[in-house]
């Protein structure tokens, strides 16, 4: 019955195409904290319409919040700085890439230290905030690329696993 309704809908509205993976949604916004609540909610809703669970969406929202806050706080030097968030959505995962103009040398050094892991995959003990640690706990992969002009790009991969052991300790 549901299938017939679906077919009828497609006849009336042929543009109601089913989402096919992978696809990508890019958001570019000013480097201002004001924008982060709206952006994190947008990513959460985007995941939910892509058939990810609300739990997955909520935890991804936390990742977005952390990486966007870091980008605004440490990756914006000029008044007109913009942040670009690329959401690449696959049927089994979401990948976030956030790009900013890069912060001061001190900020970059702190970022590198916060991301650095030793050969066993364990994080070095630092006095940094818990932001990236939370991101690491909620994701499968976290990489940072800093180019020659200090442009910083943080890449996070989070896999769809409804029964995964969430919030496992990182070491």
């Amino acid at each position: 019955m549901a299938k017939t309704e679906d077919n009828n809908e497609k006849k009336v509205f042929p543009y109601c195409r089913k989402i096919s993976f992978p696809f990508s949604v890019n958001v570019r916004f000013p480097g201002d904290l004001d924008y982060i609540p709206a952006v994190r909610k947008f990513v959460s809703e985007l995941l939910q319409v892509s058939n990810f669970s609300s739990k997955f969406a909520y935890r991804s929202e936390i990742i977005v919040d952390e990486i966007c806050n870091n980008a605004v706080a440490y990756g914006c030097r000029t008044d007109d700085a913009q942040i670009e968030l690329v959401n690449s959505i696959f049927d089994d995962r979401i990948e976030f890439t956030i790009r900013d103009q890069g912060g001061t040398k001190d900020n970059l050094r702190r970022l590198k230290t916060a991301v650095k892991t030793d050969a066993d995959g364990k994080k070095e003990q630092t006095q940094q905030g818990l932001g990236l640690e939370i991101v690491r706990m909620l994701s499968e992969r976290l990489d940072v690329v800093i180019d020659e002009e200090n442009l910083t790009s943080v890449h996070v991969v989070r896999k769809r696993e409804d029964d995964r052991e969430e919030l496992r300790p990182s070491n």
Binding site: F13, Y15, C16, R17, I19, S20, F23, S24, V25, N26, V27, R28, F29, P30, G31, D32, L33, D34, Y35, P37, A38, V39, K41, F42, E45, L46, V49, S50, A73, C76, R77, D79, Q82
Partner: protein
């Protein structure tokens, strides 16, 4: 216990003529009040009406010094400016909160955020948001919510935000419906917002089969409200946008379609 001598460094901001950044350091005790006053008088003589007080290096602030800041703020507000704080640590912020100062002064995390606020409120500089997305109808509801939330966050009222949301919904739905299908042909949504108005621009690749019918639809004689047929259930989108906005322009060519809407803030 010895007190640290208060130091003040005044910095001008290129490109923001009315702004002065005052870097304070040390202890702001009652003996500092006279110097604070002199400093703000000097700032005022230079024609600066918006003072950002950087408290990153301040270790103590007395109630007398806070009172002096309140007096200075009052003078700046009379000249349509303001005095705001930035760079307060958690301890200092808690103390100001206990003194009730957070109800009077606006406090920003850093100088850049304070400057952004100045540029938004006083210079009324626009800010730009850009989203590119594949032509799937299901993505439109999160998008309309995104723009509506941003409008609310930026101080727009509920009615304005809802109308903006409706406009975004209509033009994005049209872009999905009439644009070129295929996930590779992304739709671009640009939003330029300032305290007085919002401009929305949606661009998509045109579906070659629909260009002629779309161009005919856009002719002025077909867009009048009284030409709408009551028995036809669809095709009211652009008319609705016209009613809700202040300016609407549509450009449809073989290469792409661009819909631009301007909505002036009402509340």
């Amino acid at each position: 216990m010895t007190t640290q001598r208060m130091e003040i460094d005044i910095q001008e901001v290129p490109g923001a003529e009315g702004v002065a950044i005052l870097h304070f350091s040390g202890d702001l005790i009652s003996e500092s009040v006279r110097r604070i006053n002199e400093c703000f008088s000097a700032v005022g003589k230079k024609g600066k009406t918006y003072a950002i007080v950087d408290m990153t290096e301040v270790s103590l602030i007395s109630s007398a010094a806070l009172g002096e800041f309140m007096g200075c703020r009052k003078r700046l507000i009379e000249q349509h400016g303001d005095l705001v704080f930035s760079g307060l640590d958690l301890e200092m912020r808690t103390k100001l909160n206990l003194m009730g100062a957070t109800k009077i002064f606006r406090i920003y995390t850093d100088i850049r955020t304070a400057l952004n606020s100045y540029k938004w409120e006083i210079e009324r500089q626009p800010e730009k948001i850009h989203v590119s997305f594949p032509p799937y109808l299901k993505i439109v509801p999160p998008l309309r919510q995104l723009v509506s939330r941003i409008a609310r966050q930026k101080g727009y009222g509920n009615r304005d935000s809802f109308r903006i949301e409706t406009i975004v919904d209509e033009i994005c739905n049209n872009a999905v419906e009439h644009g070129k299908p295929g996930a590779d042909d992304l739709i671009d949504l640009s939003v330029i917002i300032d305290p007085d108005k919002i401009e929305i621009d949606v661009r998509n690749m045109s579906d070659p089969d629909k260009v002629a019918s779309l161009t005919a639809l856009l002719l002025p004689e077909n867009a009048e409200v009284d030409k709408l047929k009551p028995d036809v259930k669809r095709g009211r989108g652009l008319t609705l946008i016209k009613m809700l906005s202040d300016k609407l322009s549509v450009e449809c060519t073989d290469r792409g379609t661009s819909v631009r809407v301007k909505k002036v803030r009402e509340e």
